[in-house]
Structures are given as C-alpha cells and as structure tokens.
C-alpha cells in the first residue's frame, strides 16, 4: 500500500485543513480496519484508491469554490 496522500500538490486553504487532516486519519483507520478484517491487498488498494480519488475531486471543487469567493470581487 502506497503512503496515504497528503495533498501537498494542492494549495489547501486554511478553512479546509481540518477536513483534510480528518480525512487522512480516517483513511489510515480504514486501511487498518481492512487489513485486520483479512481483506486482500489488492482489494485494499482498490478501496483506498477509490476513496482517495473521490475525496480529491470534491476537495478540488471546494478549493475552487473558496478561491472564487475571493477572486470574484
């Protein structure tokens, strides 16, 4: 399993940092739970990648929304 994403490539605004921190902790917990439940590595990788991709997409929308709220004026 690759290291969990830290979204360093994205300029995460302060308002979203608690969400990102919480999400990283929840991802780590999910990986641990899947391992403990005996789920195979491939399925764990698939699961985590799917969750990360979804969150990343929404995070990008949230960042755009926040940037836009200032840039619009």
């Amino acid at each position: 399993m690759d290291a969990l994403p830290n979204y360093e490539d994205m300029d995460v605004p302060l308002a979203l940092e608690p969400s990102v921190t919480r999400h990283r902790a929840n991802l780590a917990r999910l990986v641990g739970a899947l391992c403990a439940a005996g789920v195979d590595d491939e399925q764990i990788e698939t699961s985590v990648n799917a969750v990360v991709a979804s969150y990343r997409g929404e995070l990008l929308s949230a960042i755009r929304s926040i940037m836009k709220s200032h840039a619009d004026v």
Partner: protein, 338 residues
Amino acid sequence: MFDCKLQDEFARLAALQRYEVLDTPPEEPFDKITSLVQTVLDVPICAVSLVDRNRQWFKSSVGLDVRETARNISFCTHAIESRKPMEVHDALLDLRFAANPMVTGKPFLRSYLGVPLATPDGYNVGSLCALDIKPRRYAPQQIEVLKSFAAVVVDELELLSMVRTDQLTGAASRRAFVDNVGKAAAQFARHGRKSALIMFDLDHFKQINDSFGHPAGDKVLRAVGACCGELTRSADMFGRLGGEEFGVLLYDTDEQGAMQTAERFRQALAGLQIAHTPTIGITASFGVAAFSDRFQTSEALIDAADQRLYRAKQDGRNRCCAADRKAMPLGQPDCVGA
C-alpha cells in the same frame, strides 16, 4: 451516560438540513463507498441512509430499488439512537422488526448492520448500513470496516457542504442555489407550489474595492452575508451568485410578497454602516420574479429576475423592480425604492 445530542431531534434535523443533501442527485463518492462496502462485506444491500423527519432517504444505495422509505419502517431510525453500531442478527427474531414490511415482504431483509453518521458536532444524521437477506453475525473486524467507511461518508458530506456554502459570506454557493431554484421549478410544475426569486447586486461595488482595497470589499460582502442571512426565513434560501450578486429564493411566496421582502432587504442593506475608516455604506438594486405561466422554468425565472435587476440599475439603483406590474399596489410603478 445521558447524551443530550441523541435526544435533540430538532437540532439533529437542523444538522441534516445544513448539509443540504436531501433529494440531491446520486453522486460518485457515495456510490463508490456503498459499492465498496457491498464487495468488502459481501452483502447484497448497502445504503447511505439519511433520516429525515418522516422518512429515510438514500443518498446512495446498492441492491435497493427505492430512493426512500417511511421512517417508521426504517432500521436506521433505530441505529441513530446510539453512538455505537447497531446489529440485528435475525430480524425475524427481533420484536422491533419481525413484522416490518421490508422483512415480511420485498426485499425480505433478515440482518442489518448500521453505523451512525455522526456530524463533527455530534448529531447522527443517518447511517451507513449493510443488509442481508439471510441471518448473519459480523466479526468485530468487519464492524470496524463499516465504521471506517462511515467516517469517510461524513468526510464527503462535510466537504460537499463546504462546496455548497460560500465561505466568505456564509450564503449558499451558486451551485447550491441554482440547484434549489431548479427543485422549486419542479415543485411548481408538479404541484403548483409558488416560489419567488429575488436577485440583487451591490451598487458601485467596484468603487469600494478600488477606493478601499479588496480586504474592505471582503468585509462588505461578509456584512451583507450576515445581514441577509438574518433576514432570510429558515425555510428560504440565501445564496451568493457570484461577485457582488446575491439571490433569495422564497418558498410559498408570490411576486407581491417577494417585492415586500425585497424592499425589506433593500432598506436593511441601505442602513448598514460597515466598520472601516471611513465607515462604508452600501446600497443594492433588486430584481424580483415569481413562477407563473410566463416563467415556468428555473432558467426563465432567473432570466426574468436578472432583467428586472438590470432595470433597477438603469432606473437609478437602490430600488426593487418586479417582473410583473400586477405585483405592485394599484397605481404604483413596477419599481420601488429610494
């Protein structure tokens, strides 16, 4: 130990409403999670169930062919009464569920595992649940898996809520606002439910930015957000449509009522004194339209309100203009204001 947030149904429903997720279209992040739970726990049915006042509504589900059920037959309404996962090994042996129509009839549920979806401030708005049509006991490790996925669901709900809220003003984002105008259009078409739209734009806002700088402009927008947020009825919606343009969606309101509300907003904004050196005062121009035979779609309504807003600007700003002359008291022009 007594947990007051588990007993406070009013606050729980308010927390659910804050997400503005009920009756929204399916979204990939939630569908991925229900699909993953189905695979990992090897269950035929999984759902993200949000427990509304009288129903449970599924933001996502696999293995179910309905989007909602009555709350009084839902398993999840029991699951949200606790902080812990709820497990029903065999519904036929559980007095709460043995006569449940989803147990005695399709889809013939027999076992249930549900983890409450708790908001960061502690309200259980629904549950992530795994259901089977045979009796079943889950291993503690499997329960942990569902708990972990439930935490990810809440992450997504929180993030989605941030996307649907303008972070500067606290108003609904354009995306959320336009979605709701669309829903109001559907309700008008289906049930004839009247709704009206107010759109307004701050006058000479560019001058504020140019004269006092963008931080002062942000301060003005925040003040507008706070003022209009307070004036907006809890059932209605206040949104920022972009830049210095805002909208108020008024349910169960005709154009005449909307004009009265718009005038109240106009006066409140004109009375604002925004702390700055020197103090900043603002005005705004308003356009008003209501669903009618002329304006039946969200696009038509937004266009009509926008045109009246433009007219208010042309007529000298700091005024409200209606799309329909009949909205005005007899003998009055179709615009009112300073």
